[in-house]
Symmetry: D2
Subunit: 414 residues, 4 copies
């Protein structure tokens, strides 16, 4: 694989970190190509503008910043929130949701610029390369995909040496063993001691949630208002989508909410706003959706999360799952009171004009409005199939229970 067929113009998804800084030069050399560095703003922290200047000094033909925060929230985070998207029940998919957006934006930029290839900094292990490549191949199959880190054989020291040899300017960086990915929906931290599932994450890996000693000693309540499944206001103040997520990260993050230890291995997540909004959304759904919708939607939500984790955002299945989810959300409007305290956010109050709870009947003492014969009839028919199944079991084909004459509560006329 030493001989690579040349590319003409490569648009690189550029983060400003070591990998993609080195990649600018490496791609130019290996593919005899011009390289445009594209930084996509999905709410990551850090000085993006300085990184762009550095990219140009390091050989990029051009360096472009694209603000994608609003489409990120509206087209990716809100659909995920409506689907209660928590992979394995714990991870809000912050990195997994940003990848398809970045791939789409990257591919569109390459088409616009007339480039013949795109490049990303994923390694040859892990889900991220799958998400990038699958999205790119699906949306812009005419573009060649270059993955420098997957193709070369450099480790971190090699990269630093390559940078020094080639006069590549890299960000002064403390020698952290961790790799961090960050956007509006959360931070993912991997590497170092986090590789060992039996090691608790050290305090140093956290950033958005301060040290436990700084967490307030008193709870803070936040009212989140939803319209059709989408949050629109905090404490009654209407907020745009980007601002709302940011504000939620700050407020819930201040209470340390919510640090999650990764799945099977190896990542630690810090997603305070996401976790708090997901808790509020879930609590509102239980108030307004019927039990049979909740039960079936649980399976849809789970499939949605698995699919997004595995790189399937741009797929007919994901779109169809979203159609189901959207159809359920028209009644998910109302207000949830979250109580943030010491590392967790709990829904402690919920109200909605679509509430299926009715205060009157719930109260003791009004039972007479509701004939107890109804309950007796319901129970009789509801339990009939199991009753008969067990009767057969205990007695063979012999004595059936006196009333167990049919297998179904409601047998005739299908």
């Amino acid at each position: 694989m030493t001989e690579r067929s040349p590319a003409r113009h490569v648009v690189l998804a550029y983060s400003g970190g070591l990998d993609t800084s080195v990649a600018i030069r490496w791609i130019a050399e290996q593919y005899h190509a011009e390289v445009t560095a594209l930084t996509i703003d999905v709410g990551q922290e850090g000085e993006l503008v300085g990184a762009l200047d550095r990219a140009k000094r390091n050989g990029a033909r051009d360096a472009i910043l694209k603000d994608a925060k609003r489409p990120f929230v509206e087209q990716f985070l809100w659909p995920a929130l409506k689907a209660n998207a928590l992979y394995e029940g714990i991870y809000p998919l912050s990195t997994a949701l940003a990848r398809p957006l970045i791939a789409k934006t990257l591919g569109e930029a390459a088409v616009t610029l007339g480039a013949d290839a795109v490049a990303h900094g994923c390694t040859g292990k892990g889900n991220d390369q799958v998400r990038f490549d699958v999205a790119l191949q699906t949306l812009t199959p005419q573009l060649r995909i270059i993955a420098p880190v997957r193709e070369w054989n450099m480790n971190r020291s090699d990269e630093i040496r390559y940078a020094q040899t080639h006069g590549i300017e890299i960000r002064a960086t403390h020698d952290s063993p961790y790799s961090v990915d960050e956007n509006l929906w959360g931070r993912s931290i991997e590497g170092g001691r986090l590789e060992d599932p039996d090691e608790a994450a050290p305090e140093e890996v956290f950033d958005w949630t301060g040290h436990p000693e700084t967490w307030p000693r008193t709870p803070e309540e936040i009212e989140v208002t939803f319209e059709a499944g989408v949050p629109t206001a905090l404490d009654g103040e209407a907020l745009g989508p980007v601002e709302l997520v940011r504000r939620m990260n700050q407020r819930a993050g201040a209470h340390g909410e919510d640090r999650v230890v990764g799945i099977k291995s190896r990542e630690t997540y810090e997603c305070p706003g996401a976790i708090a909004l997901l808790e509020a959304h879930r609590a509102l759904e239980t108030l307004v959706l019927t039990r049979e919708v909740l039960q079936f939607k649980a399976g849809v939500d789970r499939r949605f999360a698995d699919l997004v984790y595995e790189g399937g955002w741009f797929s007919p299945l994901r779109e169809s799952l979203s159609a189901f989810v959207d159809a359920t959300q028209s009644v998910v409007s109302g207000t949830v009171t979250l109580r943030c305290f010491q590392g967790s956010a709990r829904a402690v109050g919920r109200r909605s004009e679509h509430s299926l709870v009715s205060h009157e009947l719930a109260t003791y003492g009004t039972a007479d409005a509701f004939p107890s014969e109804y309950a007796v009839g319901f129970i009789h028919l509801y339990g009939l199939p199991n009753r008969l199944a067990y009767a057969k079991r205990s007695t063979g084909a012999g004595a059936a229970p006196d009333d167990g004459r049919a297998a179904r509560s409601v047998p005739h006329r299908a």
Copy 2:
């Protein structure tokens, strides 16, 4: 329960049969109410107009015929077809799909007429009363529901005697032990020897499909054209929805297609057009939907059928399932060739501009376009988790297989 609080004006879903003929008078007597007979045409055979005259002679204040065939097909049958709705995998839900339409039409008529109650002829056993009552209570909760057959204690002989005593004119009827329900989507037959699941259905219960000796000795091919999941033409001839279903019943029915023995017990179905269209739709879907859509949709389709069978047509869950289904159908356009022969219809050809099958690669001899290394890489990563799971099993925590170093094909960066 002998004393009944009076009603004012009752709209009765009137079929013209013995039960509802007797019910006109019985309701008038028991509830001191005026009765309007409403016959809803969902494609059942029989002289509906004569029945209306009889209703008036039997004491109905008015007798009305409403043609609901087109909404039945467009609003109930097509959504069911798109969901491949076969209860327990065999029953096209012909009766179950008509019930909510009839209940809705009945309730709307009662509201329009200013009536305070509706009545239907269901017995106190079986799913039909559930479907009627639940739909009526959901859509028109302000209306009282009267179910004469469920309330009175008459069997068939009692009813005939009641008719004679009260001078009620009933249709001359051969003394059939069977109860039949019929509409555009099929016939359901129950009663008599069909009660015994170990008895084959006698030839006499069938009507739409002739005697096997009359079935043609040569197959007949029918081309069904679909647009977005809905059939629009037969053999290239564009047809309206009602005519298309009718034509399909005749053509597939002539070959005896498709008689189905009921579930657990007790019904026999004769639904030639429905079964043939469902087979064609299913065959087209396998050509144009991705495997992951087909797999998830199988569960959605199953839930849809169960829900409709159990009376849940008018429910948030059914609507949301339909939203999923509809989202999958945009590519379900194309033409299927059915071969009808001796009691069954099979899809023997399928074509679509959305076909996911590509003729070239499928053909032997072009393997070189498709690097076999891709397959080796795929298999290696695809099989990794099970490989490691079994390695642990056989050896305890000891020797891992040489390449089994990770539990997931694509481990990093969630």
Copy 3:
């Protein structure tokens, strides 16, 4: 319903509270029957022995205490734990799991004593009557079921007046608006202000978890050891099942863990040990089960919880779900470190000889052991179906992407 056909000997599930204290006399009067009071110890707090004496003074022919704590844990709680049973994702089903055990024990006692009826104190609303009646009808269909509270029309004041009039000795009780059910797996509190879903639960309803001001300021770590899905030791100390659950309630409860606001409405739960054990079990499963098992088991677990909530413990489906679950648990052995702190317990470390994580490959720098061509091949085939589906979409039937020649990664020879 004033006239009741007499019973001979009724065994009453007796809690010692107001309802069942009054019921002893009421049943005797209404049914002309002898009443045996049976108290079943499932770990509820309170002086059970004193209650038995009181039952006899109040007219019971006999009063019996049966210790069912160990079968409760082994036959009900452990199967639920293995199925990660959390109804709607939040409620550990403490009350729902005890009901079938109590019903079974009650029915068996009645059969042993030669009684012809059983009685329980459920109201005519709610799931508890369903759980009791269905279990009793399934297991001991020959017994008549009497539900005094459902049958009579007394509210709390009526009951107290009835007790005074009839000289029934009742426990001196502060006039709490709450109704509490308690066993080893948790406390459920309902009534009073809890009826309103928009009201946060007041501090006074909590008992096992102290006031937040008493929660320790430093985290506590607990090591939970599992064998085949069942916890067997805490901090390395082997414990019997009852003792283990108790110890967990105390230790996690001291940190306030974990108070849950109920579903749709109306209950508040306090289940510190259950929640902590469920968190530990879930965390261990993600370490040792393959992704495809985790994904399918999520649906099984959800169905299990729904079914138990709805009264279906004794059913062929629950038994079959448990068979699936048990088959997955042979590798769920290992140790989880929980960190309890300020109202929540989080798994922060996990180790198992069946771990599917392999430390070596996870570490950066060994990528060369794992050919990146494998990943490229995997991605190519994995993404093929969606790639082709989108190509069709954008171009009609026209230009397929250059490599999109087949709909499936692995097309031939089914």
Copy 4:
């Protein structure tokens, strides 16, 4: 890839066809290895012994025949039958079920013979290579896998030329464009005109089912007896597993039952015995399993079929699914009458001591045994959630229906 590291001793899964005949010599040359030819009898037709002699004459060090028919039926076909395994609802997985058995037998033979590699004849496209490789890597990871057809670049003409050049004796073969795989559970035919999904399969591809003109003009009934989900007798005659499947193929096959056109593309199946047994098993299950078991099992069955199709036989998930299935089968005992006629087999009668149908109640006229109040109560509570959901919808939060005071049929005490 021209240079291959040598193997020592390769055990080849040998069918006697062109591919594997040529492979003996090719492997010996390319890998400088000794080759043992292993033919595994899974019920395929053809003179296996003659093929073994030919293998030796063509250079195999040894040629071995292993009869695996009984383990094939007992360990693979019966579990699949119990799971109603039909991929996409139509294909009985005949080829897919044999692959893991062959891979297991091949690997075990290689270990026994002290070989260091195994070889199979799969191409580099399609599922079969996945099934072989994944099973081999899982069970015998220490063995190297060689796939000559995937590795070389020969088409059919190349292979014949290679055979002629190297003096390889091949079976005289008419120049069929089709590729056939055959075992006890069915025949799969691919290639030629079958590649085009819009072409009906030509008559010439069928072998087990004769020409339609030969199908009897009168139906034939076959009684199939099951014990715990497994067929044990035909027409009352107890038969061993292999003989039973064979007999069923002959009897159902004589009536042309059941030819299936493949999925998405490209295969045609001829599986008369499998389809007939699956129909009988399904029909018996609907008689004896409760509705909630049938509904959940439908999803388990579907996952089972998908998993087996995709090569996952040897996996923790398949084993756990089988545990669920087995737990449901204890009551699947009884006798089904199949009617075979003109290309299809239908269950027309069913009896079982575990039947959940009860003849008495089903019959009209005994309704009085079953209070109609039960039905009214059931319907009232069953329909409550949807009723309230629609009430909210139509009126906003305003007027609730008079009885719609609670969202759940059975609200209290979770």
